[in-house]
């Protein structure tokens, strides 16, 4: 963290006003870059640890050797076939959740409005639970269903809150209402099942990387290949919409279309991540605010939010796998327990400064 504070503030001698602005912008960009670089370093370290730990421990150096293609066959197999897909999936889902969360939070201008709070995840959950319990599906079919469920739910929430345009306020409340209804559908379906498949559904509902495979990684990677650049390009509008509708309109932003496009990518990001790992709690919710805090509340922190999401997911999965010697917990348990206190704290502080809505 000490790296972050080394902005060359004291070195700028008696600037003129324009050069101060330019210098300020450059400093902020430098800070975003240095924060992102440090986060990536943390992520890489966690990644190596994740590949090293397990039933058979592989020394970190051997892990690195394997990754660059110079390891022995045994550790090659364990690292590449068994542990790598899980770690990569954690990174990708975490990044997608983080990006989706910050898009929604900025769009609605409320730090509490992440996709897992405003009902989109419930759509994915309801569809997946119906798939697992009623239709007896598993694996990719459940992922596909949950993806569809998230999209349909998001569409429904959007249409239901449409009334001469969509305000963030209505979107959030309608989302909460729809979410409450869907969560009771989930409870109902779970009572209709045998206890074993109900328990399986519960694991899915918590969010878990236990079923990670290269094919799941592949599907998610292809989706993100389109979605992430699209989101970053749309980020320009996001920054302007974040100033409020009137200011954005004055800047020439096509408000409703920009909002719809941003919502689409935000929902799609959450949906593909949920399809791969289940509705992991709080990653989407927490990544954005943490990233903003790290880069110092300047502008948008889309890329840092992605990396924070990935770090959270990978770190939580490490804890979930190795915290209890006998069982592997689903990753969602850890993110939930870490995220909950943060959430309460955030609620208290945002309300205190009067930005809660």
């Amino acid at each position: 963290m000490a790296v972050l504070d080394h902005t060359p503030l004291g070195l700028v001698a008696a600037p003129t006003s324009t050069s101060a602005v330019v210098g300020g912008r450059r400093r902020r960009q430098a800070r975003v870059v240095s924060v992102t670089a440090s986060l990536l370093a943390v992520l890489f370290a966690l990644f190596c640890v994740a590949l090293s730990l397990g039933d058979m421990r592989i020394p970190i150096l051997d892990v690195v050797r394997t990754l660059v293609g110079a390891g022995d066959p045994a550790s090659d197999f364990i690292v590449r076939e068994l542990r790598l897909p899980r770690a990569v999936l954690a990174v990708l889902t975490g990044a997608a959740f983080g990006l989706s969360g910050i898009v929604f939070q900025t769009l609605v201008r409320n730090p509490l409005a992440s996709p897992d709070i405003i009902g989109i995840s419930f759509g994915a959950s309801a569809a997946a639970v119906i798939g697992i319990i009623v239709l007896g599906l598993g694996g990719a079919a459940v992922s596909l269903l949950s993806f569809g469920g998230a999209l349909v739910t998001a569409l429904a929430i959007y249409l239901l809150s449409w009334k001469n345009g969509v305000t963030g306020y209505r979107l959030v409340l309608v989302g909460i209402g729809v979410g409450a209804m869907l969560s009771s559908v989930v409870s109902y379906v779970i009572t209709r099942a045998e206890i074993t498949s109900a328990a399986e559904a519960l694991v899915w509902l918590t969010g878990s990387l236990n079923a990670a495979s290269w094919s799941a990684v592949g599907v998610l990677a292809v989706c993100l290949l389109f979605l992430v650049p699209a989101t970053l390009v749309l980020g320009r509008y996001l920054r302007q919409l974040g100033l409020g509708d009137d200011a954005a309109q004055a800047l020439g932003v096509p408000i409703e279309r920009a909002r719809l496009a941003l919502m689409l990518v935000g929902v799609a990001l959450a949906a593909v991540a949920t399809a791969a790992a289940g509705p992991v709690a709080f990653v989407a919710f927490v990544a954005g605010p943490i990233a903003k805090r790290l880069v110092g509340h300047v502008g948008l922190a889309l890329v840092p939010a992605m990396v924070v999401g990935a770090v959270m997911m990978l770190g939580s999965d490490l804890v979930a796998q190795h915290a209890l010697p006998s069982t592997q917990l689903p990753v969602g348990v850890v993110t939930g327990i870490v995220g909950a206190p943060y959430l309460i704290w955030l609620l208290v502080t945002t309300n205190r400064v009067g930005r809660g809505g």
Binding site: I176, V178, A180, G332, G339, G356, G357
Partner: protein, 329 residues
């Protein structure tokens, strides 16, 4: 006029009770029902069904309905917030977490043992969510309260899930409790909870004048000589007693506390001295009819009343949100 309306609602409520006693997976005629209530043939199966299953279930519906309707009305009045509802404010999730802890950690097996855990959970979370939602200059606005409720629910649910994942037996019991159903109500349990409901109902009904004063804003209420802090404490006590008792009997049932006070308000106007008794009668009618509906539509199984309420209540909630002036209460 309004008093006549109350009488009419009372008649409708009796009708709803009769429906609830009559309809179910075993079809009964009205004479069976009346015979059972008069206790003519003690060893007749039909009459046994009526006495041991249908009547307790109906009484549970009455108690839970009145409790949730009143607590919703009081919550909306005290918070001056049209979206206040025990489910949306996370009270259900709080009760659920404490029930899970009760089952899993303290080995509680009987429903009358859940009661206490549900109470404590409901109380802690109701106070907590309201406190969090009302921090800040503008007080407890609808969005802040709803978000605080949804967020705290999400947090509580993930802790609940963490416990359930490691304990299949607890999960097996919990999953039936958490949908919200009147089917499991036992007479003994109803007797346990009845005193709380009675005290809660009385407290809630006497808060009418206080809520009227609060609805004018704290300053005006104070100027009218009302003790604001006392009003809030009495109301909070009523809400916790009623929500806790209802959740203990039936599990979490959402949206009833939300919708009923609005229906009552349509009939009575803004006077809480009328809204409260109307809510107390309308809510059990709605709950019992929903319960009967759940038994009829999914034969030979049944749809738990918590599900029916959610499916009926969520559209109502959304319609409410779409109305333009939301923050006026």
């Amino acid at each position: 006029m309004l008093a006549l309306g109350l009488v009419a609602l009372g008649v409708v409520l009796v009708g709803a009770c009769l429906l609830s006693v009559r309809y179910g997976s075993r079809p009964l005629s009205m004479s069976d029902v009346l015979g059972a209530l008069g206790n003519t043939r003690p060893d007749d199966t039909d009459q046994l069904v009526v006495r041991t299953l249908r009547v307790p279930r109906t009484i549970a519906g009455l108690m839970v309905g009145a409790a949730l309707g009143l607590s919703g009305a009081v919550m909306q009045g005290v918070a001056r917030n049209p979206l206040a509802d025990p489910g949306l404010l996370g009270v259900n999730a709080g009760a659920a977490l404490f029930v899970v802890i009760g089952i899993s950690v303290f080995g509680v097996t009987t429903a009358s043992g859940y009661v206490w855990f549900a109470f404590v959970g409901a109380a802690v979370v109701a106070v907590g969510v309201y406190a969090i939602g009302s921090i800040g200059r503008e007080g407890a606005t609808p969005v802040k309260l709803a978000l605080a409720g949804a967020a705290v629910s999400a947090a509580l649910v993930s802790v609940t899930t963490a416990v359930l994942l490691t304990d299949v037996q607890t999960f097996d019991r919990f999953r039936f409790w958490t949908v919200g159903s009147l089917a499991a109500a036992k007479p003994a349990q109803l007797w346990d909870v009845a005193p709380f409901v009675v005290v809660g109902v009385v407290l809630a009904l006497v808060t009418g004048r206080l809520l009227n004063a609060l609805s004018l804003g704290d300053d005006v209420a104070r100027a009218l000589g009302q003790k604001i802090a006392l009003a809030r404490i009495v109301s909070a006590l009523a809400v916790v007693l009623l929500c806790g008792a209802a959740t203990a009997v039936a599990g979490p049932i959402g949206f009833l506390g939300l919708t009923v006070p609005h229906l009552a308000r349509i009939i009575t106007g803004p006077d809480y001295r009328w809204i409260l008794p109307y809510s107390a009668l309308l809510a059990p009618i709605l709950l019992l009819v929903s319960d009967v509906l759940g038994r009829v539509v999914a034969r030979p199984g049944e749809l738990q009343v918590g599900i029916v309420m959610a499916v009926v209540g969520a559209p109502f909630f959304i319609a409410l949100v779409r109305r333009r002036k939301l923050a006026e209460l």
